[in-house]
Amino acid sequence: MREFNYYRAGSVRDAAKRLGASGNAMLLAGGMTLLPALKMRLNEPGELIDLAGIDELRGVKLTRKGAHIGATTTHAEVAGNVELRAAVPVLPHAAESIGDPQVRNRGTLGGSLANNDPAADYPAVALALGATIFTNKRKISADDFFVGMFETALGRGEVVTQVLFPKPQRAGYAKFPNPATRYALVGVCVAQFKTGVRVAVTGAGASVYRLPEFEDALDADFSEVALDGLTASAANLNDDMHAGADYRAHLVSVMARRAVSLALD
């Protein structure tokens, strides 16, 4: 790693101010993707602003609107949260599938969303559940938040503070892991609300995306059979040594069925 300054922020305001003032500072939450990237010298920030000391960013709260989860809540905390398991089980289930135990012990929800790795798990859940991402400046709907590969709607000096996941009637997340990294080669999250079904795919494309055709079919009939005959397009899908675009497209429809099955379980 190149040398940088380390700064532990005392509050969101403090972090945002510092971030806005610096030309090349970055926020540090769990560091599970940022630090490996710095080790590979893919990024060379002048300063890391650590959010770990800010208590208000951490924790899970359930309200009528859904699950409010603080940005620096770790994957392990989400996975182990008993109330969440009862209320929105897809969240702890998805959190448990992220990385390995040590990654889950440090990796955070906010970090995962803000990084928007094309193969990360949380973005699919956030998009399928129609989550709202709260920052120090505004709130952003998941539909607007994920812009492209490693790209989000976050502006300069903007800090994710918490995420609101509405409680679906039913939801499931099915993931086919990359055999080497265990990231999602393809992950599909399906969520049914009174207002309709949302289906989001991660791992397959440059960024997480929705599958309107699958959503329509499941709106009509929320069952695996409803997806019979539906295939996902391979156009613009990722193509690498682990999976070509056609295989990924195939996995999208298989994982979609499995997500429905998990939702119905």
Partner: protein, 798 residues
């Protein structure tokens, strides 16, 4: 008397304590005062002319002591990295051996080829400065696959190797030359059935968990160089440093291989990096340390396998094998690693008879240069490739003629009364009970109930398949004379010194090196058993040329068969001398002294003296036959085996395939091995488990993938798929024993078996599962995508 830890006991390991408490001492754990750090500038191109190295900017960076290049190395008369085995082509010409400089002088031939080294006060400073070294490359055309390299008009990698051919070799062992080829052709003409397969043996990265590291410390006052390095064979490294590269006398060079975190072949060789830090330390007069990052290991450690093979098997109407033809193209990489030419030839072809009585076998191998990291021995080294060819062909034959694969194998087994058995490819098999192993494996597998298990899998929507493999391998390299005739440039004996201290405690100095093999425990068991002393009173010293007389190190499952026998022979000498001392103390004839349970006893009497008293007498020779016998009790033996040893075994595994995703789940794996006699069953089982995991990794997960031009795609654990706990099942392992007559311990070796036998067993099982869908072939690794594609192709009638 042995403390309950003699031969045959699953003694818990002596070496464990330091590892489980975090007190191991690996090379990177060692730091010397004033040490500096090396970082290598490596070629980013698969193939390029190096027109110049400009270090001016790098030298201005903070903390930088020096930037050294291949030209500096040449000026200091540093020799090229040696090739340890010469191979002769079928036209009688020697294999082309390019001079391989540790730092490139005029051309780089693979991505990662070292070009220069930066030495600085900190590792980060060295790395930062390395980024500032400007190398003027002129890129050349390149290719990564051996078949592409053989094509007409392919870019030429070495001027001296037209067609990129290092050698074009045929195997005509003395026993049946010169008729092997015509006899084999005749067998095929007369065959009732012929099976023909094209197989790819995928390239692997060894991935010992400890990355390589070297720390060199030249003392200008004494002229002494000490090298701490991650080596499986420190004496061999010293030999090559002294005679080939650094050119210093042996007494001025000490090589220490302390705790070493796994090797699997990758830490045998004399690498560019360890030579460079030695030279840099001597030149700069400071200790110089280099520790590889994992991504560097993927470029710089010798890789394994990478064959393309056409194998054909001829059978008569009774399903007896009558002939086999094997034609292999082996990818050697951009340069020759030390044993690079030997692995796909003399470590491969002589095992192609397998466990069968196939009378006629003809083998040709072409060794080809490509723009990839050099290949060399990796766990199994030539034998997994041979086993894969044979056992895939045998399984294919069983399918073709509609016979149970176990029955077909049984019909062709070499029989127990045929040992020692002279194979047509030049090996004299020592012993074996192939039917016994097969029956044991079948029993452990529940062979007869497979159909029921298949039905159950089907009910869960899964395709179940079962695969079998029968391997035989040659361990215990090697009879030096035989190896010499085949081109080896070193002897392959082993050395042990038994030092009995005055108190009767014992130190063994062994030339074998344990980097996971458990010698500190198993060798001590041999001593405890032989001398009748407590296991806890024995210490095994290894890995330091300053302490141990000599040795050839640990690889090829040789430590016990060769090193253990050297120890056994040294113990013979200790016992013999002890007998003379005891005879004197007991006032008897040496011929009348028996040695049992740690007591020298006058035969047929109760007059006895314990081993400890004899040891004390040897060092306090007040009452001692000084006229006939020297004081002291320390003996050394060199052992050069008269033959290899031949472990064999039967593996059966079952898989379930998810036809929707192509995922293969390994459900069961049983191994029935014959390793001859066993010193420590628990340690042997551990060796089998580890070998199986690596073999399964090859079959299902692992692959060094390059672009066609030679950029490594799988250059980290993000892309190179290492087997993890949840990829593997519990293993069921058992042994049968036919002791080898070729060493007094009757031991054969167990380190590589799993890696040799597992790949064909797994692929045979995957194909067994997929055949109902019309799939007839799949290459390793059978990844989910590969399986899915094979199903797609079969279903669409391609």
């Amino acid at each position: 008397m042995t403390g309950g830890m003699g031969i045959g006991v699953s003694a818990p390991r002596t070496e464990d304590r330091r590892f489980i408490t975090g007190r191991g001492r690996y090379v990177d754990d060692i730091n010397l005062r004033s040490q500096q750090y090396a970082w290598f500038v490596r070629s980013p191109h698969p193939h390029a002319e190096v027109r110049g190295v400009d270090a001016a900017d790098a030298l201005k960076m903070p903390g930088v002591t020096a930037v050294l290049t291949g030209a500096d190395m040449q000026a200091d008369d540093i020799g090229p990295l040696p090739v340890a085995w010469g191979i002769t082509s079928r036209d009688g010409s020697p294999a082309f051996e390019p001079e391989y400089p540790a730092l490139a002088t005029d051309r780089v031939r693979y991505v990662g080829n070292p070009v220069a080294v930066v030495v600085a006060e900190s590792r980060t400073q060295a790395r930062d400065a390395a980024e500032m070294v400007n190398v003027d490359y002129e890129e050349l055309e390149s290719m990564s696959s051996a078949t592409a390299a053989m094509e007409e008009g392919a870019p030429l990698i070495h001027e001296g190797a037209p067609g990129n051919m290092c050698f074009d070799w045929e195997w005509l062992p003395a026993a049946m030359a010169p008729d092997a080829r015509s006899n084999t052709d005749k067998a095929f003409e007369e065959a009732a059935h012929v099976v023909s397969l094209e197989l790819v043996n995928n390239r692997l990265a060894p991935n010992a968990m400890e990355p390589r590291a070297s720390l060199a410390d030249f003392n200008p006052a004494t002229g002494q160089l000490t090298l701490y390095t991650t080596s499986q064979n420190p004496h061999v490294n010293r030999l090559l440093l002294c005679t080939a590269t650094l050119k210093m006398p042996e007494h001025k060079v000490r090589v220490v291989a302390p705790d070493v975190g796994g090797g699997f072949g990758s830490k045998i060789y004399h690498y560019a990096e360890e030579l460079t830090v030695c030279w840099a330390s001597r030149r700069l007069r400071v200790p110089v340390k280099w520790t590889a990052e994992r991504s560097e290991s993927f470029l710089a450690d010798a890789q394994g396998r990478d064959h393309v093979t056409r194998v054909e098997l001829a059978l008569d109407a009774d399903a007896h094998f009558t002939g086999m033809r094997v034609d292999t193209v082996a990818n050697l990489g951009g340069w020759l690693s030390a044993f690079g030419p030997a692995i796909p030839t003399v470590f491969y072809a002589p095992l192609l008879a397998g466990v069968y009585r196939t009378p006629n076998i003809y083998v040709t191998v072409k060794g080809v240069f490509t723009n990839t990291t050099p290949t060399d021995a990796y766990r199994g080294a030539g034998r997994p490739e041979a086993c894969y060819a044979v056992e895939r062909a045998v399984d294919e034959a069983a399918v073709q003629i509609g016979m149970d694969p176990a029955e077909l194998r049984r019909r062709n087994f070499i029989q127990p009364d045929e040992f020692p058995y002279q194979s047509p490819v030049g090996q004299l098999y020592d012993s074996g009970d192939f039917e016994g192993c097969l029956d044991l494996a079948r029993e452990l597998n529940g062979y007869e109930e497979f159909a029921e298990r298949r039905r159950q899998s089907q009910a869960r929507g899964k395709l179940r398949g079962r695969g079998m493999c029968f391997y035989i391998e040659a361990c215990g390299a090697a009879p030096s004379q035989a190896a010499g005739q085949l081109g080896a440039r070193a002897g392959l004996y082993e050395v042990a010194t038994v030092r009995v201290h005055p108190s009767g405690s014992v130190q063994v100095l062994t030339g074998a090196h344990s980097h996971g093999q458990s010698h500190e425990t198993t060798f001590a068991q041999i001593v405890a058993e032989r001398l009748g002393i407590d296991f806890g009173n024995v210490e095994i010293v290894h890995g330091d040329t300053g302490e141990i007389p000599f040795g050839m190190g640990t690889y090829g499952s040789r430590s016990l068969a060769v090193g253990g026998t050297a120890l056994y022979k040294a113990l013979d000498k200790v016992e013999e001398k002890g007998r003379k001392i005891a005879a004197h103390l007991l006032e008897a004839e040496a011929a009348d002294i028996e040695f049992t349970d740690g007591q020298f006893r006058v035969a047929g009497t109760d007059r006895a003296v314990p081993f400890g008293d004899v040891a004390l007498a040897a060092y306090v020779p007040h009452n001692y036959p000084l006229q006939e016998l020297e004081p002291g009790l320390e003996e050394t033996a060199f052992f050069d085996p008269e033959n290899f040893t031949f472990p064999s075994g039967c593996y059966i595994c079952e898989v379930e395939v998810d036809r929707q995703t192509g995922e293969v789940e390994l459900c069961d794996f049983v191994a029935a091995d014959d390793f001859g006699n066993i010193i420590n069953p628990m340690v042997v089982e551990g060796q089998v488990h580890g070998g199986l995991a690596q073999g399964i990794g090859q079959a299902l997960l692992e692959h060094c993938r390059y672009t066609p031009e030679g950029q490594l795609l799988s250059g980290s654990y993000m892309d190179y798929c290492m087997p993890r706990a949840d990829d593997l099942p519990n293993f069921v392992v058992a042994t049968r024993c036919t002791p080898t007559p070729f060493n007094p311990l009757g031991v054969k070796g167990c380190g590589e078996a799993g890696a040799i036998g597992a790949p064909p067993a797994v692929i045979n099982a995957v194909l067994d599962a997929l055949r109902p869908l019309g799939v007839t072939h799949i290459d390793m690794p059978a990844t989910p995508q590969a399986v899915w594609q094979a199903i797609q192709a079969a279903q669409s009638g391609d």
